[in-house]
């Protein structure tokens, strides 16, 4: 099964120091060869290297371009609006029930920060909200800062582990990140949320369905130019977690939150969405959140 993303394999950071580690091209090629993934091998083979170490500058430039293309799909699928629609009732619940201000929204693995920049530009979330994006990758964070500055947006980006920020987030958010945590890494990811200051989280990721790999292939083939983006887009859809898996892992890792899947189907139609989201709240916010959701509460799955 082809379940490795090229972008995961061509980058390596020390999780403690966040120092960038050299990546051997031959080692990456070997991993894809073990999966008989010729497409990925051909993409990696064409990447620049110096004495078998992948050229970090070339990798950075490539990934910035890939993120720019990914943003196009996010825009087409109205992802900014979708996040804002879910965030507003959560923020209303936090405000009405009590929360330390400013409410710090942290985007985990923000990349070039599309979601936060969109929220800063158009989200209308209120002046008591602080937007912070965190990612291990300095080049992506540099690009996020450049873009935010160019449009004079009130948002901060840090090269950091999102869960080690000081002060920590009141709310953690991510898009297309959760499926990168495999095996025990998934409950460990949720365990990082379970700290007193954190009041809620919402993680958006691909919704697996029989149509998802084809749909993802079609959209990436039509909309993306970079072969790496096309490859990883399809693999992401293949290895995305089901709602049950996410709710279970969140329960194991962060039992202090009530959890539910949001927006898995398109109303009463049997059409699955491209993305679903896992919502977690401290139990005291649940009723206020449901009230604030209004008619959209029907989109919420069962709480656990």
């Amino acid at each position: 099964m082809n379940d490795l993303e090229i972008s995961d394999e061509i980058l390596s950071f020390d999780p403690d120091t966040l120092e960038r580690l050299p990546v051997r091209k031959s080692a990456v090629l070997q991993k894809f060869a073990a999966q008989s993934n010729r497409r990925a091998m051909s993409i990696v083979r064409e990447m620049a290297d110096r004495n078998d170490i992948l050229d970090p500058d070339a990798v950075d430039r490539r990934l910035i371009r890939v993120h720019c293309e990914m943003q196009r799909i996010s825009e087409e699928f109205q992802h900014g609006q979708r996040v804002a629609e879910l965030l507003r009732p959560i923020l209303e619940a936090l405000r009405s029930t009590g929360v330390v201000r400013p409410i710090r929204i942290v985007d985990v693995g923000c990349g070039t920060g599309f979601v936060l920049r969109w929220l800063a530009a158009r989200g209308d979330l209120g002046n008591d909200v602080e937007l912070v994006g965190a990612d291990y990758h300095p080049a992506l964070i540099g690009e996020a800062m450049r873009l935010a500055k160019k449009e004079d947006l009130r948002v901060t980006f840090r090269v950091a582990n999102a869960f080690r920020l000081d002060p920590p987030g009141s709310f953690y958010l991510s898009t297309g990140v959760v499926h990168h945590f495999r095996g025990e890494g998934l409950p460990a990811f949720f365990r990082s949320h379970d700290r007193p200051e954190t009041r809620a989280f919402a993680h958006f990721d691909f919704l697996p369905s029989p149509m998802a790999p084809f749909g993802s292939w079609l959209f990436h083939a039509v909309r993306m130019r970079d072969p790496l983006a096309k490859h990883d887009g399809v693999v992401s859809a293949i290895r995305a977690y089901s709602g049950d898996e996410l709710v279970r892992a969140a329960g194991d890792g962060a039992p202090g939150f009530v959890r539910a899947m949001y927006s898995t189907r398109l109303g009463i139609l049997p059409i699955p969405r491209a993305f679903h989201s896992l919502v977690g709240l401290r139990p005291e916010y649940r009723e206020a959140f449901l009230r604030a959701l209004g008619p959209r509460r029907s989109r919420l799955g069962a709480w656990t």
Binding site: H67, E69, Q78, R82, E143, L147, V222
Partner: protein, 172 residues
Amino acid sequence: MTLLIVTLYLLAVVDATASGYSAAAGRSALIHKGPHYRKSMVRGFVLGQIAAAISLSLVLWAVKTAAHPDAFCSDLARVWTRMLQVYLPFSLIILTAFAFRLAPSVDVRCLTSTLVFGPLAGIRPLVAIAGLLWGLWAAPRPEIIAGGAGILLLWLSLERVLGIPYRPKESV
């Protein structure tokens, strides 16, 4: 005949302008991209005029050099009518989807992408070829086949040409 030419011209210009949008998509990571897209769509429109002028010149030259201009024009009209039988419904579906794009619901707007814009963008070159073949079936003259193929190639290459200015940049 004039109505056929004008209809094909309008469709072609809309397609060229949309190609300008498409060439610019995914090239800027800014949030406010109005000027970015406008610039590229104007480029598409202008390039569309040039391609239309080349196409029309080719047709006029073919008519002028034809042994029997009246019969040639009659064949051309049959080919164009059949081409429009394919291109007009395709355009109508896309224009209808644009109307749904104005809906206030995020879900409805997304559906236009999932069900219409994405898949139809994928099959657009095939529809263009199918339309030409369906047209040529009515009058398969060698000069019309060669001219039609050349003009189609010209139009299908517009997006690639419009993408050239963006290539050296990583992000705008």
